[in-house]
């Protein structure tokens, strides 16, 4: 199923969307972590394809990236690992544009599709440069997700929402990925602004670290993306069960919020 259709139907069922992030190839058994996240109630999972120079990532995801590359992780290897993973939980690849350019957007997107991946996030590919990749992704049925930031002015925000596929990625704050003590005020403002111009799902990411923060950030959006908080645990040696239990707590917190009268 298309990523966007899946997210829309989950949302229509009254559920806040939860999308954890995992760096592909971070450990030898990383696919077990992926499975645990799927089983713990993820609506989609973002799989990082490690790139040597992750300029929008903070220390945690940099460290995870280094660990994966040191293990010899490659795009091809990671795609091989997840081929046939599952149809129930869509996978969304995220990487930097150099790896897309390496094989050319057409071949890169076709390889994603062949591995069963249904979406793509490229943080260093803004709207203005996205044409070629958007065409390549669309032609193989992969949704190219665009990002909006608190610094995005209005007419541009509407254009991003219009041209994004899958969902719109609301970057909660002006900064890199990484855990934060609180949800930035800019998160709610941005999510509301995006929702004012599109009915596409809107997910808030960057800095969402705890179940409480997930609940808070999801209030003005359709859901949340959780990255560094999970990767910190993985780097500290958390087992698939540990990571699954963490995500299940977030899932419960989001569901309880919905069920409250």
């Amino acid at each position: 199923m298309r990523l966007e259709d899946h997210l829309r139907s989950r949302r229509a069922a009254g559920r806040k969307l939860l999308m954890p992030y995992l760096t592909g190839g971070v450990t030898a058994t990383w696919v077990d972590h992926l499975r645990a996240l799927a089983d713990a109630g993820a609506d989609a999972i973002e799989v990082g394809l490690p790139f040597s120079d992750p300029t929008l990532d903070g220390v945690t995801i940099q460290e995870a990236t280094d660990a994966a590359l040191a293990r010899g992780a490659t795009v091809r290897g990671i795609l091989g690992d997840i081929t046939g993973f599952t149809d129930d939980v869509p996978l969304v690849a995220s990487t930097y544009y150099n790896l897309v350019v390496r094989d050319g957007p057409e071949r890169f997107c076709a390889a994603l599709r062949d591995a069963g991946i249904s979406g793509l996030i490229v943080p260093d590919l803004p709207l203005d440069e996205a044409g070629e990749a958007a065409d390549a992704a669309a032609s193989v049925g992969v949704d190219l997700v665009l990002l909006a930031s608190p610094a995005t002015p209005q007419p541009r925000l509407a254009e991003i929402a219009r041209r994004s596929r899958g969902f719109v990625y609301a970057v909660s704050l002006m900064g890199t990925t990484g855990e934060r003590a609180t949800v930035a005020e800019s998160a709610a403002t941005l999510a509301s602004r995006i929702k004012g111009s599109t009915d596409r799902p809107v997910l808030v990411g960057f800095g969402i670290s705890t179940p409480q923060q997930a609940v808070e950030a999801a209030r003005s959006a359709d859901g949340v993306i959780v990255g560094a908080a999970i990767m910190r645990r993985v780097l500290d040696g958390a087992t698939p069960d540990d990571v699954g239990a963490d995500l299940a707590k977030m899932r419960r917190a989001l569901d309880q919020e919905r069920d409250q009268p």
Partner: protein, 385 residues
């Protein structure tokens, strides 16, 4: 070498591959630059700083003894004689004036050899701005003198411990920092790299080198234009500024890269630090670490305009080894009494090799930009001796 337009394209290269959070900041820099550059007031302020602070125009020095040994006519454009000791100051003063005009209070910079960092710290002190300079830990160790200079000038120097711990990683870290600091901070990029408008703007601020040299060659040479114009290439700013003054002449343009950091000569198309250009990469598309004795050339890529000039065949890019560069440095010192920076010595080394190999015809006139002086490299050289 003109205006690359709103999309910042040099042929197939350039552009603005930055996170959405930096798009507005880059646009703001472009707007400010497009508005400031034609403004006589801005031009006057910059020209005055270049005259009374930097000491421009820098001389064009005919080097008699080395020329005689090589059988050519070699002229050096003496950026080593500028205040702070390298061409980096030309660009920094332009950008610092722009930052102040934009109401920014803080400069951010990356540095490799420390020359751009020293220039940024100097401009910040001069114009009453704060400066934060990101520098790879490996470079902090090998260019210690420049670290002291930056701190003495009041700048904060932030060590970068990730990756190769050199210029590439310092640049990544500066960009990460800028994402969270765009409101008050201006990112003062040190070479013709990065997202639009930086490659174009930095070249424009550096073209003072080429424009002066063009006029000086006209006065010095019976042919008015040299046969060859040569400069070293890290990211490519001193070369771009030099080439800009000669691109419309018959002079052959040669960019000299370090063998271990030869983005233009050996790189493949990719996207890094905001631009589509040529980068050293492995088969999987991971950026490869550069290795050069010259910290300022220790960068695995090259500015997008150089990639374009290469494709057009208008400029040629060649490489020189660490050993060739250090011998050239010593030879220039002993024949002319000029101790060049290790970066600049790469350009000298190519001229020596090309003259020896008959690639430069006897009597050829060669204009070489000596981008900086070698004080910062004395400890590196001492270890080799």
């Amino acid at each position: 070498m003109g205006d690359p337009g709103r999309q910042g394209r040099f042929g197939n290269y350039g552009g603005g591959y930055v996170p959405e959070s930096l798009v507005a900041a880059c646009r703001q820099v472009e707007e400010a630059f497009r508005e400031a550059w034609p403004d006589p007031g801005f031009q006057q302020s910059l020209a005055r700083l270049l005259a009374v602070q930097v000491g421009r125009p820098t001389p064009l020095t005919p080097v008699r003894r080395l020329s005689a040994e090589l059988g050519i006519n070699l002229l050096l454009k003496r950026e080593d004689l500028t205040h702070t000791g390298s061409h980096k100051i030309n660009n920094v003063l332009g950008q610092a004036l722009l930052a102040r005009r934009m109401g920014k209070t803080h400069l951010i910079a990356e540095t490799g050899a420390g020359q751009h960092g020293v220039a940024t710290a100097t401009a910040a002190a001069l114009l009453g701005l704060a400066a934060t300079v990101f520098m790879g830990q490996r470079d902090i160790e090998r260019q210690a003198l420049n670290v002291y200079r930056m701190r003495m000038l009041g700048a904060e120097v932030v060590p970068v411990e990730t990756g190769s711990r050199t210029l590439k990683d310092a640049t990544s870290q500066a960009m990460r920092h800028w994402v969270g600091a765009t409101e008050h901070s201006y990112y003062c990029v040190g070479s013709v790299i990065g997202p639009h408008p930086y490659p174009w703007m930095v070249r424009t601020f550096q073209r003072v080198i080429g424009d002066e040299a063009r006029g000086q060659c006209a006065a010095e040479l019976s042919t008015a234009v040299p046969d060859y114009v040569v400069a070293c290439v890290g990211g490519g700013s001193n070369a771009a500024g030099t080439f800009a003054g000669f691109v419309d002449t018959s002079a052959r343009l040669v960019g000299v890269e370090a063998e271990g950091g030869a983005g233009a000569a050996l790189g493949r198309v990719g996207v890094l630090h905001g631009a589509r250009s040529l980068f050293l990469q492995d088969g999987d598309g991971q950026i490869v670490e550069a290795h050069s004795i010259a910290a300022g050339l220790d960068y695995p890529g090259v500015g997008p305009e150089h990639a374009h000039l290469r494709d057009l065949g208008r400029a040629r890019y060649v490489t020189v080894t660490d050993d060739e560069a250090t011998s050239a440095l010593v030879r220039l010192a002993r024949t002319e009494g000029i101790v060049a920076a290790l970066e600049s010595a790469h350009a000298v080394a190519w001229v020596i090799r090309a003259a020896g190999a008959g690639e430069l015809p006897p009597g050829a006139t060669v204009m070489l930009t000596l981008s900086g002086r070698g004080d910062k490299d004395v400890s590196t050289l001492k270890e080799l001796a």
